[in-house]
Symmetry: D3
Subunit: 159 residues, 6 copies
Amino acid sequence: MQPGADTPEAVVELAANVDDATGETLGHAAAALLAAGALDAWLTPIQMKKGRPGTIVSALVREADAARLSIALLRETGSFGVRRRAWERTVVERSHHEVDTVYGPVSVKLGTLGRERLFARPEADGVAERAAAAGVPFRVVMLAAEAASRSLLSAGPSS
Amino acid sequence: MQPGADTPEAVVELAANVDDATGETLGHAAAALLAAGALDAWLTPIQMKKGRPGTIVSALVREADAARLSIALLRETGSFGVRRRAWERTVVERSHHEVDTVYGPVSVKLGTLGRERLFARPEADGVAERAAAAGVPFRVVMLAAEAASRSLLSAGPSS
Amino acid sequence: MQPGADTPEAVVELAANVDDATGETLGHAAAALLAAGALDAWLTPIQMKKGRPGTIVSALVREADAARLSIALLRETGSFGVRRRAWERTVVERSHHEVDTVYGPVSVKLGTLGRERLFARPEADGVAERAAAAGVPFRVVMLAAEAASRSLLSAGPSS
Amino acid sequence: MQPGADTPEAVVELAANVDDATGETLGHAAAALLAAGALDAWLTPIQMKKGRPGTIVSALVREADAARLSIALLRETGSFGVRRRAWERTVVERSHHEVDTVYGPVSVKLGTLGRERLFARPEADGVAERAAAAGVPFRVVMLAAEAASRSLLSAGPSS
Amino acid sequence: MQPGADTPEAVVELAANVDDATGETLGHAAAALLAAGALDAWLTPIQMKKGRPGTIVSALVREADAARLSIALLRETGSFGVRRRAWERTVVERSHHEVDTVYGPVSVKLGTLGRERLFARPEADGVAERAAAAGVPFRVVMLAAEAASRSLLSAGPSS
Amino acid sequence: MQPGADTPEAVVELAANVDDATGETLGHAAAALLAAGALDAWLTPIQMKKGRPGTIVSALVREADAARLSIALLRETGSFGVRRRAWERTVVERSHHEVDTVYGPVSVKLGTLGRERLFARPEADGVAERAAAAGVPFRVVMLAAEAASRSLLSAGPSS
């Protein structure tokens, strides 16, 4: 279920160019797509015709969800069309760990590609909780967590 | 001619990354592609190599127009290359209606997907004309037209 | 406390150009400034030196909060400098109302400038709640709320 | 009326951060401000709170127009506030000329600062007309016009 | 090796959405991909989930390099996934020339599509060198070089 | 010479909105302003009139350099006007240190505000050199350097 470097998975990108929805609607549309199962959703500022600023509402979805989430994108944005196309995606293997910091324990995602440990990334939501509890900026706790995470990388050549 | 939810149409996206054209040229390039038959054309600000701000000039075109509009894109931007790839596009069925507002009649596009009425969108150019004639902001007339358009939606579950 | 068109209030804009913080940190910084009392906080994508994409972290704050929030901005972003300057700001008078829709009641903010009713804006958070409860897109409920709000505008020339 | 390098003029910048207007409305707002006498008007994509994409609607206006155009900005965007502050602006002296190209004559604006001829810029609208008449890309006619304009620069050290 | 209008070449686009890398890292990532053989690399500012500003790191690469550069992109950005898909690319035929200007000789790339000379573009790095040597702005030398290059275009209908 | 939290320094921001210069020219303009003594220079993508994508060329400069760098900005961009206004800027006190990593020593800038150590930032250029020498991504060396730098923060409440 976790494709590695040699087993890319097929995903689908959905996109619609929107110049007749507000920022509020666009923010909600992206959130709604994520809540409905999109792997990712994002907004790209563009310039559209007739001097209108616009936004591309994009989502990366599983093939099995493409039809359903296409309809969702149309409903959420009121766009008259949605386009889709396939990508191949390579994801690293992720394993979950925990590290200690002076602000408390923090969840860390370790990413491995084959035998190479690529990164050990503290999970932002957990870092935010520690920061709020300690009354310390997010940035500071993230730095502490990243430092504590480096030991997880030490088995591979990237450390 | 109006594919519905279950008959996606094939379209082609053309794109070129441009860091050696002015904003004037880029604006004209997008307009020229639309005038030449592109379904849509847009500009995306990006950062390119050597610290240069750049722009992706993109167009969505029918397959039959792809070769012709690729050449047009090269001519209009002076880019040394243009890339293209296919998308599948689902568009809602559109029907045209008119609604009354205190500013006069306004054309409205009703979008339907299967049996669901997704949106009733006043046409911006007509709204702009009413606004200019009434000496009232575009935004205000658009709100009035949207309110008047809601009756068109009432046959479907989205109202 | 609600300056009208002829009693602008003094506000201060804080800004820092940041190319050495992650998107996670920047998102948290803006949220932290708002939580700490900023009137508004926003992020502007820019291109900085040495080919680095960057972000201007900006906040609009009351004069009395400028020193405190300047320090907060430095702490949250790790920037080595923060700049500040004054603006005059005109805000419309805001009054709160409620309108009924088929999705339930929605709070609306009416904006008045002198004797002119400029807008009647449904509050997005409330619209989102109604949409979630009804299983209907945010956009659809917002349209219904805007239509219901128009009666609030009818006493002024903008309707 | 044409301040040179040593006689900067005072201008005012108006700005409002907008996340609840569509691209259509924003495009019309900028155009309306220009039509109403703004020296310049532009739109900057930003990220606002609650995950909403937004836009700063900005205008540069003469001091005498600041109050009037502030109200216009509020009306056109439906924003609840508009901020303003002064700038000093230095503009080059502009004189108008005409040059010949194989596509016909083109108007050119020569910019001078003190005794230095800074630029000779073909006017885009005229270039566009020649391009349309000749069935040639805007870019190509602009290059021809720029080449023909260089003789206007030859009296100064920048050639 | 230089496909013309009728022999498009296959290229691959790699992309990753990144919200947990700094501008410094992103700038280095794009540069590293170019140094490692990417045909092009660019950064697109986007808005990602949870109110985070993000960046799409994109690269255009030869098919034979796609696997290798996918790994490089993962290493350089620390992203947990990279997606890829094919494009067809049409490039103009490029030939190298030199033109004389008052600032010295400048290399120019002539782009031809079939029998049509599309553009004669002075190479920016060479223009920058002449400008630095002459103590003259890049823009001024580029204008001179473009004017001098027009003779290269005269054999085709675009002049 | 290093103003602290209570001795803000006066700086000047220069800006010009440009829609008639290429990305190459804009990149060179920003670099030229930095080389000529600007404290900072950056480019902001905007949408300008007539459907043209544009760029704000901005620089932060010392008051004593404002007139000279205003002229430079006009020369580099060919803009017909440049605006300027004052800001107050608070900068943290910076001291330089060196830390050891497995990739070699790295220069670090420690930022202090009053008695609070705000950040210990490894200098990007030095990190890039170590990364190139070790054949390791910039990101990885930066993480190592940041971890090594944390000891510099330990004397203040932010660690």
